[in-house]
């Protein structure tokens, strides 16, 4: 691995951004010819430049240099068509406000603390361009706008009076929308992250209020209780099983947003669902501790409402360099959205809570927490980092597989030991699927936690994964067969822990740290890696040449900020763009206006000539 960069001059444009490329999985034909594309790297920021968003300003395509700029499209709080970008609404699609009158805009503080806009997809339909954006609050929100493209320059802008709220009320509302993908059929495939533990809810709920008892989860109960705002503060109407799914937004021939929650794809902490070129196979990452890796095979192309759900089994072949394994897939169940919706909502009225409870799906018993053994008839599992003894109730296999996907996967022998799976992308030219693992830790170690003996994450489980602790994380590549089914998984890039430097960095500055979002620029050899790290003082976005293993630093974010959901749209009427959301990019820059401090989605580009 080599790292390249050039020094940045004193007059670096604050708002200029990233990097390169081409290729996407948005349905364009796959090219096996690599364009001669390279980006100019940037140095590690020092001093006041640590407060700024900094990025490369040029890319070379076929030997010709193109200037790159990052165009802000839409910022949180922007008004358009009497809608406010990021405003969260309730089960009647009425805006939610707090007691101070403030609208529930999914955004952090003006000092950059909090969650908000996470992913935007650009969709080409009806000869038009649409953008669907999703917000990462406990009550999720999605908005659709139309984009306009200057044919001569490729410049994108948001069309006046085009913003529409995407109602999710038929799917019980949205929840913690994380990363997303523009599917090969130009739909927005979203995510609902950090599903709530239904077993814990059932144990700690106040039946009369529907809320988890205050303090029951050391304060974390507010994370679930917050959803009551969607239900007009009536928590008895909500079930944890309503959240943790994969929503999809398609644009119909009239330009309307059609929303579907794909219950058939399973319920867990969905970071990202990524559709392969066959338009049927979907890989799904699960963000958390002791989590699984899942695959969905749709019955029909472009239809994710019916298919078969699988969980990965890691059979380790090497412990070295971040590890290698053969991957096999354990079938969990076949389901359709309507079958599972009928389980969640038997009376067909989303306003009433008739969802099953955890105890309707499983019998549970106490096990021996020292040996990890369970009473006869029960199976020991360790999913989400705790040991349980479970037995699926008779006839509830499909419901358990879909509503409690991670637990069920563990029950049937799949691996639930991964630690914070994040981004997924695909290099079609080389048949390689890439998955970012934020850390190699806990369940991924062998009865250890952060390198020290600790069985919490392996007791009762398979202990399939036995790797060395790496707090800086790793990038894994998976070979896929002719059916787009992954067969192997190996680390190809490992972050490197260092002694704390004078700036407080604890991962090598010339390498990745806690990799998060990934995107591949088809037609090149370039994989892009975004970080969500506290071990690099400034988060970075890298390009990684999968052939030369060259890492190039393309962007650094301000302190305490993150750039999320990078995604390449290779061909939008001949132009290539990378979408990215930057959170509070100007917050630490003196003199910046409040508008400049808002999180925004923008595009890097346009770039032309990517083959």
């Amino acid at each position: 691995m080599r790292t390249t960069y050039i020094g940045m001059g004193a007059s670096i444009a604050v708002i200029s951004m990233i990097a390169v490329g081409c290729g996407s999985s948005n349905g364009s034909s796959v090219s096996n010819v690599s364009s001669d594309v390279s980006f100019t790297g940037i140095a590690v920021p020092e001093g006041d430049s640590q407060k700024e968003l900094r990025s490369t300003t040029e890319v070379s395509v076929g030997g010709e240099t193109q200037a790159i700029s990052f165009t802000k499209l839409l910022a949180t709080g922007d008004s358009n068509n009497n809608e406010i970008f990021g405003l969260v609404k309730d089960h009647h699609d009425t805006p939610i406000t707090f007691d101070d009158g403030s609208p529930y805009i999914c955004n952090g503080t003006n000092s950059g603390v909090g969650s908000g806009l996470d992913h935007s997809s650009i969709l080409q339909k009806n000869g038009k361009l649409y953008m669907v954006s999703q917000f990462e609050c406990q009550v999720g929100a999605m908005y659709k706008v139309e984009l306009e493209q200057d044919a001569a320059t490729g410049t994108l802008s948001v069309k006046e009076n085009s913003m529409e709220f995407v109602s999710q009320k038929e799917g019980f509302g949205g929840f913690v929308h994380c990363a997303g993908q523009t599917t090969p059929w130009n739909s927005h495939l979203g995510s609902e992250e950090y599903e709530i533990d239904a077993r814990a809810v059932e144990k700690d709920i106040n039946a009369s209020t529907g809320l988890v008892v205050s303090g029951a989860w050391d304060g974390e109960e507010v994370y679930y209780n917050e959803v009551a705002k969607f239900w007009g503060n009536d928590a008895t109407r909500m079930s944890p099983y309503y959240y943790g799914w994969t929503p999809e937004v398609t644009i119909d021939a009239n330009g309307n947003a059609l929303y579907a929650k794909h219950y058939a794809m399973g319920r867990f902490s969905h970071e990202l669902s990524f559709v392969m070129p066959d338009k049927k196979t979907v890989y799904m990452s699960d963000d958390g501790t002791n989590v699984g890796l899942f695959m969905f095979k749709a019955d029909n192309a472009e239809e994710l409402g019916a298919g078969t759900l699988y969980a990965a089994k890691w059979t380790q072949t090497s412990q070295a360099n971040g590890g290698s394994a053969n991957i096999s897939w354990i079938k969990l169940a076949h389901a359709t959205d309507s079958e599972i919706k009928a389980i969640l909502d038997p009376d067909g009225d989303v306003e009433t809570n008739d969802a099953p409870l955890f105890s309707d799906l499983f019998d549970s018993a106490d096990g021996n927490s020292t040996t990890g053994e369970c009473p006869s008839g029960y199976t020991a599992v360790n999913a989400s980092a705790y040991f349980e003894c479970l037995k699926v109730k008779s006839g509830m296999e499909q419901a358990a597989a879909l509503l409690e996907t991670r637990r069920y996967a563990a029950l049937v022998g799949a691996t639930t030991e991964f630690r914070k799976e994040e981004g997924i992308t695909y290099d079609a030219a080389n048949n390689k699927l890439y998955i970012a693992m934020s850390e190699v830790a806990r369940g991924m170690e062998d009865h250890k936690k952060n390198g020290e003996a600790n069985s919490k994450y392996d007791i009762g489980g398979n202990n399939d994964v036995k790797l060395d602790y790496n707090p800086c994380g790793a990038l894994y590549a998976l070979d896929v067969d002719g059916n787009y089914t992954a067969t192997t998984m190996s680390a190809v890039l490992n972050g490197k822990a260092i002694d704390e430097d004078s700036d407080g960095n604890t991962c090598d500055l010339e390498n990745i740290s806690n990799p998060d979002n990934l995107t591949f620029l088809e037609g090149t050899d370039l994989l892009f890696i975004g970080e969500d790290s506290s071990m690099h003082k400034n988060n970075m976005v890298w390009s990684y040449n999968v052939k030369t293993q060259e890492l190039t630093r393309l962007l650094t974010t301000p302190l305490d900020a993150e750039t999320t959901s990078i995604f390449w749209h290779k061909n939008i009427n001949g132009y290539s763009y990378m979408t990215a959301v930057t959170q509070h990019p100007m917050e630490k820059v003196e003199g910046a206006s409040n508008d400049e401090k808002e999180s925004f989605v923008g595009v890097l580009g346009p770039i032309t000539g990517i083959k």
Binding site: G47, D48, Q50, K51, G77, S79, N82, E83, I84, L87, P95, T97, F98, D99, D100, G101, S102, P103, Y104, I105, C106, N107, G108, T109, N110, S111, G112, V113, G114, S115, G116, C137, Q138, V176, Y194, S214, G215, D218, G219, E220, V222, Y223, E226, D287, G288, K420, N450, E500, S502, D503, G504, S534, K537, L559, D560, K588, E590, N594
Partner: protein, 567 residues
């Protein structure tokens, strides 16, 4: 600072570095340009958080509840469950405040009473009516100029501590500086004089709240707006200092339905209207007066219970403990240990504050060992992430005030964000004395001859005696149970609170909050040792003997054995 003094300061710093080598201390004074903590990246988790809550008799002590408590919006932290466990991560499990374990007996013995009294009676803030620190900062030494632009970009001290009969501070020309002193009930525990320091707090509202509708400075407007802010922070009615003709201001302050004469601010909050089309709030049930009223209508300023208007500032001086002329009681010393400054630089709505609190939970769940990222530096102060910037000045090795470096300021952030006990990042304005107190509650401690004497014990929201409750829950008068004077005075051999002694606090809180003259001198000397060492990042708690009721290491998530309580 004249160059000669600067040179002396640097020389002192070098000398202290050398002398500190034997104790392993790095020289904090050279670290002004750092934007990370060198010694303790978790310095926002204060030394008190490592207290041993169970003693050798298995008795459980709970000093934790004062900070970690059930909170009401807009404080969404609601962290009372933290009383029950040491919620540290892999890094913060180690207590890096190793000063706690040092024995300063020899060093303290080497300081005479006369020497320490002479030292603390010297004013290190003003000399000849001028603010010496402001003069130093105005020609900023390179060492403090963290961005190297040749000027000081942080707070330039502008309070003269020259108060009139209403507590307003005036500059040498007799003009108002905007700062106003107020009396308040000291927060339970470490901030009692008995535990080490005297202190004061001043507030300043931004210009529009000190100006009439025409933009002219007006004390009348300012007094009313201060009462409105007090009402919002306390979420209760506030008696006005003098009756107000509401017709002059166009605001029904007492909510009696007419514009007449108001004797008090009546706290009535109804959710304002939000207009999706304009994105603006309107129809406020409470309003500022004067120019701020217009800015509220245009939403350039906002208003809400529990929140200060954007631009609000606080000054907080922490001082040594002086002895009065009769040598029988204590008072505030001229010498400042610290000058602490806070400014609310941005307004964050309930929605934003709720989002921030929930995101902290999510971050902690995803990365339990990840430390908070606190942004800032020596010159600009540190941001608490909720709209406030905090900046501190502390004594250098020669006793002059100097800026705090990043890590020294990081220590302040943990309490001024992320705990349930605060109101919009602050502690004591919500504890301000009412209009029924001396000078209607608006005075500086130095203006009242008998200090905290004859002030009655405050009550908790539940109606219990607050300081007595603290003594009962904690079984001591400080977090570390190191204040033996209070232990001996208020508790029997079995550690049971002596009701006869607690009874004396009812009408005179100084009986608990003041140290004896002997203890005061010891506390001063113990702290002077820390100043000489410049070892603040290793712990600022003044004690002579090593503290024993504090962990050097905790097991993450280990139980404190406390059953969480909210009083």
């Amino acid at each position: 600072m004249p160059y000669i003094i600067l040179l002396l300061t640097i020389l002192t710093a070098i000398l202290s570095l050398v002398s500190c080598d034997t104790t392993g201390y790095k020289n904090a004074q050279t670290d002004f340009k750092a934007t990370v903590a060198r010694n303790n990246r978790a310095a926002y988790i204060t030394s008190q958080c490592y207290t041993k809550t169970v003693d050798e008799n298995s008795t459980v002590h709970n000093p934790c509840y004062t900070c970690h408590t059930a909170s009401a919006p807009p404080n969404y932290i609601n962290d009372y469950a933290l009383q029950e466990s040491y919620d540290m991560g892999e890094y913060s499990r180690s207590n890096r405040f190793d000063n706690l374990f040092r024995d300063r007996s020899d060093a303290v013995a080497g300081i005479s009473d006369a020497a320490i009294l002479s030292y603390i009676r010297e004013d290190n803030y003003r000399k000849d009516g001028l603010i010496t620190l402001a003069a130093s900062l105005s020609s900023v030494p390179d060492a403090w100029d963290s961005n190297g632009n040749g000027k000081w970009d942080g707070y330039l001290p502008d309070c003269y501590f020259d108060f009139d009969a209403e507590g307003f501070d005036r500059n040498p020309d007799g003009e108002d500086t905007g700062w106003r002193a107020f009396g308040y009930y000291p927060f339970p525990g470490t901030f009692w004089p008995a535990n080490g320091s005297t202190d004061d707090v001043l507030i300043r509202l931004p210009d529009p709240l000190r100006e009439d509708a025409g933009g002219n400075t007006s004390r009348s407007v300012y007094r009313i707006n201060l009462a409105i802010v007090e009402s919002l922070i306390k979420e209760s009615d506030v008696i006005l200092e003098e009756s107000v003709d509401e017709t002059q201001y166009g605001v029904d302050l007492d909510h009696d339905g007419i514009l007449g004469t108001a004797g008090k601010i009546v706290f009535v909050w109804e959710k304002p209207d939000f207009d999706t089309a304009t994105g603006k709030l309107g129809n406020f049930s409470m309003s500022y007066v004067g120019r701020a009223k217009e800015l509220l209508e245009s939403n350039e300023l906002l208003i809400a219970p529990g929140l200060y208007p954007q631009g609000t500032e606080f000054l907080h001086t922490v001082r040594y403990i002086d002895i009065d002329e009769t040598n029988t009681t204590i008072r505030m010393a001229p010498r400042m240990k610290e000058l602490r400054y806070a400014r609310k630089v941005s307004w964050n709505s309930y929605s934003q504050l709720q989002n921030a609190a929930l995101s902290e939970i999510k971050e902690k769940n995803g990365f339990p060992d990840r430390l908070r990222t606190i942004v800032g530096d020596t010159e600009h102060g540190l941001q608490n992430g909720l709209g406030w910037v905090f900046q501190g000045f502390i004594e250098d090795g020669s006793g002059e005030l100097r800026p705090q470096n990043y890590e020294e300021t990081l220590y302040c952030i943990g309490c001024h964000s992320g705990i349930g006990a605060i109101r919009d990042g602050t502690f004591v304005f919500a504890r301000k004395f009412g209009t029924d107190h001396f000078r209607k509650g608006w005075y500086h401690w130095s203006q009242k001859n008998n200090g905290l004497k004859d002030i009655a014990e405050p009550l908790t929201p539940g109606g219990a005696y607050e300081y007595t409750t603290y003594l009962q829950a904690n079984g001591a008068g400080d977090e570390f149970r190191g204040n033996e004077e209070i232990m001996q005075k208020f508790f029997d051999q079995e550690g049971k609170l002596l009701e006869s002694e607690a009874e004396k606090i009812r009408t005179d809180i100084s009986y608990l909050l003041y140290p004896s003259v002997k203890r005061a001198l010891e506390l001063n000397k113990a702290y002077k040792v820390i100043v000489d060492e410049q070892s603040f990042i290793h712990g600022r708690d003044p004690h002579v003997k090593p503290l024993v009721n504090v962990h050097t290491e905790v097991t993450p998530k280990a139980s404190t054995m406390i059953k969480a309580a909210v009083y």
